[in-house]
């Protein structure tokens, strides 16, 4: 299965996301920010990093890139899209997901092994988890505090759109300890911690992050 991995100028975790797709049994396909061709991929990952230097606002410029002009309508038509960290910020800026990510409450960049609890196992990217499963994966960001208005938060909760929550101390001040959310259709997922850095216990805190990628690849083989 072909899974696209987008590289914007300033993207950092594209190689890692491609590796995760490979570990999951998929075929990673590199997508360039300046192109509009999605190359027949069955899913797209927007990796972590600092697209366009995070100038203006995280993800604000990436949202207007040529590749996003193809991804946004495709996602609206059901193409599975996973935004990790900066990718999550791009999805919010693109209005594919509600809300916004703001500066961590501690005002520092934070890189730590974070326990999260999987809340929704119905999305295109979380089917391989069991509900309530707790996994530890790296969290690394400066602007990871998920914020939205009360009405949106209520909808997210009522529609089971929360993908995962932080366990223990809320590391960045996200509302309802939200670590990741999905759209109503369940094809677009944004997550702040980094599952692509937890695909092998040798180089990450666990291999539990791999299930995000196998969820997509296995379901569609």
């Amino acid at each position: 299965m072909r899974v696209g991995v987008v590289t914007f100028p300033g993207t950092l975790d594209d190689h890692d996301a491609a590796r995760a797709v490979k570990y999951a049994g998929g075929e990673p396909v590199s997508l360039w920010h300046g192109d509009t061709d999605l190359k027949d991929v069955a899913g797209v990952i927007l990796p972590g990093g600092f697209s366009y230097g995070d100038y203006l606002r995280c993800g604000a410029i990436a949202r207007f890139s040529p590749i996003m002009s193809s991804i946004i309508p495709a996602a609206e038509n059901g193409l599975p899209v996973l935004g990790i960290c900066n990718g999550f910020q791009v999805l919010c800026e693109s209005h594919l997901l509600p809300g916004a990510l703001t500066r961590n409450v501690g005002l520092h960049f934070l890189c730590r092994d974070q326990e999260i609890e999987i809340v929704n196992t119905q999305s295109a990217w979380s089917g391989d988890f069991t509900r309530g499963q707790r996994i530890t994966i790296p969290l690394k960001n400066g602007e990871g505090s998920y914020q939205c208005d009360d009405k949106t938060l209520q909808e997210l909760e009522e529609n089971n759109q929360v993908i995962a929550r932080y366990v223990g101390i809320n590391p960045n001040g996200s509302r309802n300890a939200i670590a990741g959310i999905t759209n109503k259709q369940g094809n677009v997922v944004g997550i702040m911690p980094h599952p692509e850095h937890a695909i092998d216990a040798l180089t990450g805190p666990s291999a539990a992050g791999l299930a995000f990628f196998t969820s997509l690849v296995r379901a569609r083989v």
């Binding site: 890692d16 005002l107 040798l202």
Partner: protein, 744 residues
């Protein structure tokens, strides 16, 4: 100011020039006049002044640094040695690794965030310039007392700067040191080490050869930042009277650097350059003169073609600007189109600014007028060389006579427990998670071990699991007491930190941070330190692949404690076998090496406010035996931890805290001495009970002294008949200090 051309200079020999303001001495200025057979133009003066500064020319250190070449051990691993941007070693399977450490001390004191950020940016470009992908950053840092108001200004800024830059360029920050000492209060040390990986055939050199080849400047546009940074900032002691020099610190843009890295690697992959140099200290002056002198000498540059951020810059300022994120490449005309195409893909500004000529001079024009006409070697390499006087300070004898071994010691259970808690919570020994959490250690996905590990372990091949281990070390107090022994202790410790992972140490780099070379006492420290490192490298059979000298680290007459930071790179054939100091399950704890009564210069003495005596003995042969032993027995060793600052007490507690367990251990003899001695050549290992007899036997065969300390387990650290402390209590003491000091 009117343009000063070569023609004007020739006809106006008596024009007064600001050589003194640019940091040159009178005899240096006269030498420039002799070389050129006329007065220099103002642009030439700018170039000579920055290139002949202490920072660029190594004029005070050169006569000593030669020993690294003269005493160099025979090494098959060395592919590129001292003199290039960074040394390169062969790590097998066709891979080459380059690593180097540099200082950015003075800028980081003035402007902590930008100083530290551009320090990272600069060393990363040095590594990139060799043709390598930068894969890891380590930051050896030294600050004034942790509770000093200025440390609260400097440290958070430096940490945020390192993170802010390193995190944005996608290179993991995986180790380093954070050490506090009062001597660093007015002179914090911000050193940055970068490791890069490439295939042998991809190694690039800074050389402009082939007449007709084009000189291309690519990356950020040139602005007015950092002008004179090298000559004014790095070569002058801070004094309280002078006005602040803030504008001389460069400002970094990590996004531009990230794009520049990817763009350059793509250019290298297609083999489009014959030589390349990054623009760091001394900017274009350095890049053009070094590239030209490494080639046949001839180069012509049209300086007015340099893209500017500030159109009002004069040619002198353009030559001196230290604007960040710039590279200079030598490109054959047949490959220039493809080169520019790749730059365009990455939105990197690239401009042909000149060409290599068949002549022997570096000629620079400004709108057609010749403003520089110099033999480039005289700028880049034939700077002044000083044989500065050096002399052991007169009070050194008194200092060494005042041994910490004579201080009153804690003896009762309560006193010993209190001493342990005090050391484990001291800023130097306290948990540094508050700092390391601000660094992205995961990016690139190859981090097998990162701080607080003894060494960082990075995978370099995903199929074969080949990897490298890197560590940096230096105890400046030891070096103050005896710079020769102190430097060899730093070498031994860095070596041991790499060895405990099971890696084989392969090469040495260094960053020699000292006070003013004009002080004979400081120069003596420096001379002793370099001699020690060259001797030690020879004895251990490890090449010194490069290094950096930072002088003038002092406030007024008071120099920092000498701080020769030593970096060791090791190779590990299979990173899956790398040993950490964390273990699981019940294990037997065994101490390798001998404990002697050596307390001077150590953490306990420092906690008493004492600095005197002689540092621990060092035996490099024993370090080699230990390293070989760990490597050979790595399948039987569950965890291993180097003993250094704080001795057995700190190493044991760190290992237990990492492994989330207590232990019951017995100490035969004076418990205080065994807990706090900082004898070198010691490693704490954890071994399964069923393997312990075997491992102890093998150690005895190798001639290594072993002490079976006891077993892990329980929730307390029990030292039989001496004391008992709850691990929870120790953990709390260890973890609270740094956040309490630095959380805004």
């Amino acid at each position: 100011m009117a343009l000063d051309t070569v023609g004007i200079a020739t006809n106006s020999p008596d024009t007064q020039q600001p050589w003194r303001e640019l940091g040159l001495k009178e005899d240096e200025y006269q030498r420039i006049r002799e070389i050129l057979n006329r007065r220099p133009t103002s642009s030439e003066l700018a170039m000579y002044s920055v290139m002949w500064s202490e920072h660029c020319s190594y004029k005070s250190s050169k006569v000593h640094l030669r020993q690294f070449g003269e005493k160099a051990p025979k090494s098959d691993a060395l592919l590129v040695g001292i003199g290039e941007n960074a040394g390169v070693v062969d790590v097998g399977q066709g891979y080459a690794v380059t690593f180097k450490v540099e200082s950015h001390n003075h800028p980081s004191f003035i402007e902590p965030y930008q100083g530290a950020a551009t320090g990272v940016g600069g060393i990363v470009r040095d590594i990139l310039t060799m043709g390598a992908r930068p894969v890891a950053i380590l930051d050896p840092l030294r600050f004034g007392p942790a509770d000093a108001p200025d440390t609260k200004r400097v440290l958070p800024g430096v940490i945020a700067g390192i993170g802010g830059y390193g995190n944005c360029i996608g290179v993991p920050t995986v180790g380093g040191e954070v050490i506090f000492d009062k001597s660093y209060l007015g002179n914090p040390l911000v050193n940055a080490l970068c490791v890069g990986v490439m295939k042998h055939e991809d190694i690039k050199l800074a050389k402009a050869s082939g007449a007709g080849n084009l000189v291309v400047l690519f990356g950020a546009k040139t602005g007015g930042d950092g002008i004179g940074g090298v000559s004014v900032l790095a070569s002058e002691t801070f004094s309280e009277k002078k006005p602040t020099k803030r504008p001389a610190v460069q400002v970094g843009d990590p996004f531009t650097e990230k794009v520049l890295i990817e763009c350059s690697l793509e250019i290298f992959k297609e083999d489009l350059v014959v030589g390349i140099q990054d623009l760091g200290g001394a900017g274009l002056s350095c890049a053009t003169s070094e590239l030209a002198s490494a080639g046949t000498g001839g180069m012509r540059i049209e300086l007015d073609r340099v893209p500017l951020r500030d159109a009002n810059l004069s040619p002198e300022e353009i030559l001196m600007s230290e604007s960040q994120e710039r590279m200079c490449a030598i490109v054959p005309p047949a490959k220039i189109d493809r080169f520019l195409e790749i730059c365009e893909k990455w939105d990197v500004v690239a401009t042909v600014i000149g060409e290599v000529t068949s002549g022997e001079h570096l000629e620079i024009t400004w709108h057609g007028e010749l403003i520089v006409d110099v033999p480039p070697r005289t700028v880049a390499h034939d700077g002044p060389v000083y044989n500065r006087p050096y002399k052991r300070p007169e009070n050194q004898g008194d200092l060494c006579a005042d041994a910490a071994e004579n201080l009153p010691r804690p003896s009762s259970e309560a006193e010993l427990a209190e001493t342990i808690l005090k050391i484990i919570s001291s800023p130097n020994m306290a948990d540094k998670t508050w700092i390391t959490e601000q660094y992205d250690k995961y990016v690139q996905g190859n981090t097998v071990a990162a701080g607080p590990s003894d060494a960082a372990v990075i995978r370099i091949d995903e199929e074969s699991f080949l990897g490298v281990a890197v560590a940096t070390d230096c105890n400046g107090r030891f070096c103050k007491l005896d710079p020769y022994q102190g430097t060899q202790l730093a070498l031994a410790e860095a070596f041991r930190n790499v060895a405990v992972t099971g890696a084989k140490p392969l090469a040495i780099t260094n960053c020699l941070n000292f006070g003013s070379p004009e002080d004979p006492g400081v120069m003596w420290q420096f001379a002793e330190s370099v001699r020690a490192l060259a001797d030690g490298a020879l004895e251990m059979g490890l090449p010194v692949t490069g290094g950096n000298v930072s002088f003038y680290n002092q406030t007024g007459d008071v120099a920092i404690v000498p701080t020769p930071v030593i970096g060791i790179l090791g190779v590990i054939d299979d990173v899956r076998k790398a040993i950490s100091y964390k273990f699981t399950g019940a294990k037997e704890l065994i101490l390798l090496g001998e404990t002697l009564e050596e307390l001077s210069g150590g953490e306990w003495a420092d906690g008493c406010g004492h600095l005197g005596g002689v540092p621990p003995r060092v035996n490099l042969q024993k370090e080699i035996v230990l390293a070989d032993f760990i490597h050979a027995q790595r399948d039987y060793i569950a965890a291993a931890h180097d003993l250094s600052d704080g001795g057995l007490a700190v190493a044991l507690i760190e290992m237990l805290l990492q492994s989330k367990t207590g232990a019951t251990v017995s100490i035969h003899g004076d418990p205080f001495m065994h807990l706090f001695s900082e004898s070198s050549g010691r490693i704490l290992i954890a071994v399964s009970s069923e393997d312990s007899n075997y491992v102890v036997g093998k150690a005895a065969d190798a001639g290594i002294t072993t002490t079976r300390l006891g077993k892990s387990g329980g929730e307390n650290l029990e030292i039989s008949g001496v004391l008992s402390l709850s691990m929870l209590h120790l953990q709390e003491a260890n973890q609270r200090t740094i956040p309490a000091l630095f959380n805004a």
